[in-house]
Symmetry: C2
Subunit: 351 residues, 2 copies
Amino acid sequence: MSLIPTDSQRLVLHKRPERGPVTDETFSLESISIPDLKDGEVLVRVEYVSIDATMRNWLNPTRSYMRPVEIGEVMRAGGIGRVVASRAKGFVENDLVFGTLGWQEYWLGPAKHLEHRQTPRGGKDIDHLGLFGISGMTAYFGIFDIGRLKDGEKVVISGAAGSVGLIVTQIAIAHPKCTVIAIAGTPDKCAELEKLGCHTVLNYRDPNFRKAFKKVGLIDVYFDNVGGEILDMVLAQLNPHARIVCCGAISQYNAKTPYPLTNTPSLIAMKASMTGFIAFEYAARYSEATTYLAELQSKGSIKYEYHLLEPRQGERNGLGRCTEGMEVVYQGKNYGKTLVKISGNQQSSKL
Amino acid sequence: MSLIPTDSQRLVLHKRPERGPVTDETFSLESISIPDLKDGEVLVRVEYVSIDATMRNWLNPTRSYMRPVEIGEVMRAGGIGRVVASRAKGFVENDLVFGTLGWQEYWLGPAKHLEHRQTPRGGKDIDHLGLFGISGMTAYFGIFDIGRLKDGEKVVISGAAGSVGLIVTQIAIAHPKCTVIAIAGTPDKCAELEKLGCHTVLNYRDPNFRKAFKKVGLIDVYFDNVGGEILDMVLAQLNPHARIVCCGAISQYNAKTPYPLTNTPSLIAMKASMTGFIAFEYAARYSEATTYLAELQSKGSIKYEYHLLEPRQGERNGLGRCTEGMEVVYQGKNYGKTLVKISGNQQSSKL
């Protein structure tokens, strides 16, 4: 039996960032005493937290699909961890759980906020935050339910080397007769995407990008992770009945001034749609997505990667790398899913 | 038996307008000899043509839902008319027909391009171009198929006094428990819309419009006839799962520079959609819409109006008023559907 820890470090929202990136002042590190567990509660050691582009939105005091994180509140983040103590039925020490665990060493709360996770033989715990986590769910329901992808269509994916994009891209490649155009921001990412079998890979930082994009021609489905200028370019190249899947707008979340779109009237002429969605709303159908993705993975049609930030040498946890994780995502330094390992090495379960 | 006319006047596209409104140079008047009818052809005296905001788009040499009108080609327009001669089965003199008759005195072509129309007792021929024409079809399929209007929702309609908007507004008022906000551009139009029973009527030219619009609160369905600034304001006030019906963008068709939208990322946060459509695609279901609209009309729930431009005194037809008709629409001088009466008074059927 492990000892129950007595204190926990955590990052709370200290000062909302203005338009633009988070700063050193945005979060502050706190240490708290862990209270005794009440009936129905579980104490979880946080092992990995997911870093997602949308987290920047949670820091704005504006109406969105979730309430903003409040000043003084632990920064919200999806995570996986291990139960270290439980006064709740069905949860025992060392259980692997998924939940909104936040940027903290230990999560304490009612068991109803946790979900059990099982890692299949040969699988990785962190896949519960990636391929089979919210990224995989977002990719699957986005491309099929919102994008209504059909055989033989031309699909463009922006942010194609990102946590969601990398899955969407490989779903599209595996889909019968589709032509897949992936957009990313570095030569390395582009090289990886080419290896996966994309028909065209474009680097949006390339000076000839606009010209190259025109050659892509008319588009049936655009899976948009970035918004802004690329979205406006796509709007000018829609096929009739095209679907734009509005998944993210990472180019806009930190922008000092939003990019002005001018081509939306083409939605009318092309009888096309732009539709936003949040994967949480498909929770009742997650197993459908998981089954599909696991099958693609087992066939070798999905290769998924993680950009992992581990605790710095000499630090007791990975909290010191969380804001860095957000920078990684916003600067597009990640290939695949960005995660921060919170728990120190001596505590971690197998990857 | 009427005499078969020997010549016909028509307006052809002479010079494409640059960005901005049509000019005196855009169209030119021609007179042609009417050729002999071939087998399967019908000659139609054009009585009324429909003036629609979308016509401006047909003059641009750009890809759209229809090919552009070519230089030298008769300006495209939906119209109704009477058969004056026929070598086609099923078409006889004086039949009322609907088709893309164009800005001309006489239409000659294969019968397959025409549809018979019957005006019910007490009805008006021109309703085939308005309430039961493409405006009615656009309103019905837009609000129900694209907008998926549900009981109790808050609906905003821009261009609410226009050909389509006036129908949508009254459908929404008649729909159970909906809150209907109508936007128009003159005090007179606003007064008429208030009489119809809108819950709120806003004049977008009013200096307090922005402030008043904020008070409208969160929106479930936006039926967009105008695009531009009002669309961007709506995007900032969406309820979760809101639907924006992209019907028209009249504020943009003549604009020298397009209005830059900045609020589209809210589509993601609100899981909302913007969807374009063209009513032609619902042709197989027109009778469903006609039945619905006729029932609302018979209950007194739809009052429809026409802004009619007739031939000027001393002119043999109404062609001289066609470009004026377009100006009427773009300057928002019409309440309801704008039509030009092409045939001279001596030739016309009853309104």
